[in-house]
Symmetry: C2
Subunit: 407 residues, 2 copies
């Protein structure tokens, strides 16, 4: 009898995947499902990017350089410099999506059994990458009550052991939408400097900050040795399917290690790099429209949520997610019930139960992540569904009870 590996068995099935059959069944019954559950933007990929592939003179789809085409790396460096991030082409390794950048960072900075501190809730796939790279995630909890701000640096310090090698931060944050301030980042970098840790900064949502300027980890003085930016074109240009990302660092030793891992897969996707070059050539005001649209959606979603009895949520400063506390017994049960047993005017809504974003068991049971990746009209409809659902859900909790339970 053959067995799969222990790590293969330990690999979690994504919570999204568990709910998919119920969503499919609802659609089969003719119910329209509003997908607030995944970070798949509805925005059009910029036509200039698509044209760059569709009008290219292609004959042989060759491997590119393992670090990406020189022309793309140069253009990407220019994009970063325009964002105030002082890097050159040679500081950039082009990757297959942000995913590969995350994997290369774990493989290059940590050994098997080493520890990675991550503020929770965090992007669920980090757990999977940690299993693949055989490293241990040590969570530090941020709370909805504090707007998912960075936990006190002392909370990180308490978790540091001789096996700790890095802190991983998603900024703006998925799933919380929190944008870390310069002060928060400086505290973290200081900690990394004192304890000789890497600061892995997942900046996939950099361009979507609604209430102020964005601070990248590489904006900070003294960050050069410590910081690796993990990046992707997926969200900022609505090009998730392209699978094009970047591993960016001024630390030559880490870049060298990541490059050697990159050599094993010979090259990142070629057509995607054509998209990427065109993206870097987009006019500087490209993000204005997209950002304004997301901001309007955020305001709509947050304002409506806050009117619902027993619902609490901070105003997220960035990305396109809201984490909300709902007056329910269990978000996984609620999410399934929405798809299986509920409809409102022929519609329902699919949400992400938040437990999948926490490493600490039991946390997030009453929270859901909502992605505002559908247009405002549909978003209104989706919120109407959610409001109606909270009225009739059998596992609902009365706001008075809630107040007592939560002190």
């Amino acid at each position: 009898m053959l067995h799969v590996s222990q790590r293969g068995a330990a690999m979690p099935l994504s919570p999204y995947r568990k709910l998919t059959p119920f969503a499919d069944a609802a659609k089969q019954r003719g119910v329209h499902v509003h997908h607030l559950n995944i970070g798949q933007p509805d925005m059009e990929t910029p036509p200039a990017m698509l044209a760059a592939v569709q009008q290219a003179d292609l004959r042989v789809l060759e491997y590119s350089h393992a670090a990406g085409h020189a022309s793309y790396r140069q253009k990407l460096a220019r994009y970063y410099r325009q964002a105030g991030i002082g890097v050159e082409a040679e500081d950039i390794l082009v990757t297959t999506g942000g995913s590969e950048a995350i994997l290369f960072a774990l493989l290059s900075c940590l050994n098997p059994g080493d520890e990675l501190i991550v503020p929770e809730p965090f992007y669920g796939a980090y757990t999977a990458f940690a299993v693949a790279a055989d490293v241990r995630i040590v969570p530090v909890t941020s709370t909805l009550e504090e707007g998912f701000a960075l936990p006190p640096v002392a909370a990180f310090e308490q978790r540091i052991t001789p096996r700790t090698r890095a802190i991983l931060l998603c900024n703006p944050n998925n799933p919380t939408g929190h944008v870390y301030s310069r002060a928060e980042l400086e505290q973290l970098l200081g900690l990394c400097q004192r304890h000789h840790l890497y600061l892995l900064s997942d900046e996939a949502y950099r361009e979507f900050c609604y209430d102020g300027a964005y601070v990248s980890a590489l904006h900070l003085p003294g960050a050069e040795e410590h910081v690796v930016i993990l990046d992707t074109i997926s969200k900022r240009y609505s090009a998730c399917g392209a699978r094009l990302g970047a591993f960016v660092t001024k630390n030559k030793a880490v870049l060298g290690a990541a490059f050697r891992f990159a050599q094993m897969r010979i090259s990142p996707p070629g057509l995607a790099q054509l998209l990427g070059e065109a993206a870097a050539d987009l006019p500087a005001d490209y993000f204005q429209h997209t950002k304004a649209e997301y901001q309007a959606r955020r305001d709509l979603l947050v304002n409506r949520l806050r009117e619902l009895p027993g619902v609490r949520c901070p105003v997220p400063g960035g990305a396109f997610y809201v984490m909300a506390h709902l007056p329910i017994d269990d978000a996984e049960r609620f999410a399934q019930w929405l798809l299986e047993d509920f409809e409102y005017q022929g519609q329902t809504v699919m949400v992400s139960p938040a437990a999948g974003f926490y490493a600490t068991p039991g946390l997030g049971r009453q929270q859901v992540r909502l992605a505002y990746v559908i247009n405002q009209h549909d978003l209104e409809q989706a919120i109407n569904c959610l409001a109606a659902a909270l009225h009739v859900y059998p596992g609902r909790k009365r706001p008075q009870m809630e107040r007592i339970l939560n002190g």
Copy 2:
């Protein structure tokens, strides 16, 4: 002071990479470099594949399903069935190149520290994947004298320990071009059955067999539980830069584990899947022309090589590589000398020193891998260079000496 991980430090720089600066310098001097060193086909990617991307109605480049688009998986299953490999869409996980299929196989079938037996010489990147997955490659040596046939099964059996989990075979073989016979495969499968091992079968070059029918590991009765096919469209459709591969198995537990690893990167490249669908729709005779061209090149290369004093090579039955023994002191030195100190009629040739394909230290020092991925006219020129070079290379060995040295 920060350190890169031990695995990052252990990751080898590809031998190709070491020679690249010398090739660049030769080109700077105006010398034409014939690239026989890499498996990058010169054949055109089928225009129907390119048209499928260039004429598609694209608006939003969305994530695909983690296992690939259902439509592509169905078409790919049809391709396999036409090749006599009885699989369905649900036996296929679409991957980012064959590379990702290799990585997922190691992660899903082996635990950290487990052992993987591989006949050497083998594709150099296997070493890198083994470092990334923290598994140990145990080589079993095949020899040029035996035409790189499968070593006796007893040689494999001797290397099996309690940590052995799988055998990895590349068929047709890179770098040797050897095509394993049904008898060879049956012996290996029998061994895997007796010792409860996986048989990981890298079949990237399936369509390029020149002297007889191809036998896939999944053609064998009783293979279902043991075999995982690692595949790619890179070579067969000259689409290396697309990064599209497949992980194919009838073993549901292994497929499930690989699928969970696949979820971490959400989806394989989207545009590449459009290429892949068009590839699966190509007429059945598509490979005839390509195969005939490669076969003509092989015959030209092998016949010319065998005329050169002191050069020995088997006739490889498949893929597009020849491994040749040269009358030289050291292939790495020779390869560098070709680029740095030699030219013939304004040209030179870049070869792959074979030591990088062996795990056993000291083996392959007098061997090079030559890829016949340039047209016949250029190939003639490249061989002329090689012949001239062997006359004047300072580290050449006289055939008489060779005979004495090799017994």
